[in-house]
Amino acid sequence: MLIAESRRLMIAIVDYRAGNLTSVARALQYLGVPCVITDRAEELRRADRVIFPGVGAAGEAMRNIEEKGLAGCIREIYDAGTPLLGICLGTQVIFEYSEEDNRTTCLGIIPGGVKRFPEGMSEKGDPLKIPHMGWNRVAFRENHPLFAGIPGNAEFYFVHSYYPAPSESSDVAGETDYGIRFASAVARRNLVAVQFHPEKSGRFGLKILENFSRWDGSHAQ
């Protein structure tokens, strides 16, 4: 039996007790994009797009993800080709491991790890503070649909002490300088993951969320 179902495309935001879920939802509401915050695997699998947000520590995040039985689900969503957007801690746990909390084993969707900013970094003779907190530029490396319409001097809001270090350079989609140059955006197939907070990065952050709400998961190069 076929039932014609007309429903608006829905973004599901993964709830694993990490912070900033409501900020992401509010930004999507402002953009008029329907979204739901959920920790139910069924609902996540049914969603047209999935956002994997997060603020906090990797160890606690992975414990919550395991407890809620969502690790397999996130992997399935990725394998199924559903457009997936990682934000901040959500981005970090997509890697194989994080140095945080005495090395945390993570989801392993993107090869590589998440490392702590080295002590003693400096810029023009001044020591750099950790966390990297505030606005910084992202040199987007490829013509990815998610970063369409973003000017080169746009800045994004960061707050983190650990940075993504993908082992395959083809996964790097954007880089940021803070003492070292690190991958502030990664992209692989239907996954884009950013270290900064698009939901707190003003007009250009909203633009990325809007682009995501229209993205079909393919690379239009």
Binding site: Y30, M133, N136
Partner: protein
């Protein structure tokens, strides 16, 4: 390279700004949500709300203000004023604030910093410090003392010691207010700002005394502050935030140029 931040501060009582704020064209606005929206559009990098409400009903009104702000602007903002419990922090953060700032509540009960950092992450917890210059002594070796109640009560705590202690307890940032400079419009307390910002690893927001655009340049360069809190200088329409940023950018300070 990280940009220096310009952060307007709004004082709120019972859900309204304590003073009207004038924008170009001389419109006087008393609604914190509307003013936050204007500053957001003008390029503010962050916004600080300071709630000077005393009553618990007023507090609930503030939570409603925070919710409306969070639906309107998409940059980080913090809320401070009278925060003493984890429960109060939780309400403010759930309503949509990025950060909460604790001041006298942390002086009275330093554990609140750690509890807040564990519950919400260090990046959420800003330590607000009100500081007055005093004679150097065995008890106050830096010559800067922590005060509360708007500078009326001296706490016998050295400001430098407290800044380092708060960092160890888990504060993610310090908002450093000089009671001596506050309201003078004669410039930030550069010596104090330099002392604190070069002795902690967490970012420091300098507060108190901004009256001219050169004051911001001094505090962000010579005194090495990570961010400058501003009030009257923009509230009374002396400059727009965009004008301040243009000046600072032209003077070689890294600023967020487009928004």
């Amino acid at each position: 390279m990280l940009s220096k931040r310009i952060i307007p501060c709004l004082d709120v009582r019972d859900g309204k700004l304590t003073k009207g704020i004038k924008f170009k064209g001389n419109i006087d606005i008393g609604d914190p949500v509307e003013v936050a929206r204007r500053y957001y559009e003008q390029g503010a990098d962050e916004i600080v709300f300071y709630d000077i409400t005393a009553s618990s009903e007023g507090r609930d009104i503030m939570i409603d203000v925070v919710k409306r702000v969070a639906e309107t602007i998409f940059i980080p903002f913090s809320v401070g004023g009278g925060i003493r419990t984890l429960e109060h922090m939780r309400k403010v953060i759930l309503a949509g604030a990025e950060k909460v700032s604790v001041n006298s509540g942390a002086v009275e009960n330093p554990r609140i910093i750690t509890e807040g950092a564990v519950a919400f992450g260090c990046q959420c917890i800003v330590l607000g410090m009100d500081v007055k210059k005093v004679e150097k002594s065995a008890k106050i070796p830096s010559g800067y003392e922590i005060v509360i109640q708007g500078g009326r009560k001296y706490m016998g705590i050295d400001a430098l010691w407290w800044a380092r202690e708060a960092e160890n307890l888990g504060a993610g940032e310090i908002c450093l207010n000089s009671i001596d400079a506050d309201g003078t419009l004669e410039g930030y307390e550069l010596e104090l700002t330099h002392l604190i910002t070069t002795n902690v690893k967490i970012p420091v927001i300098a507060s108190g005394g901004a009256g001219k655009k050169e004051h911001l340049l001094d505090v962000l360069t010579a005194a090495k502050a990570d961010a400058a809190l501003i009030a009257s200088i923009v509230h009374y329409g002396t400059y727009t935030i965009a004008e301040l940023k243009e000046f600072l950018s032209g003077s070689g300070v890294k600023m967020r140029e487009v928004w």
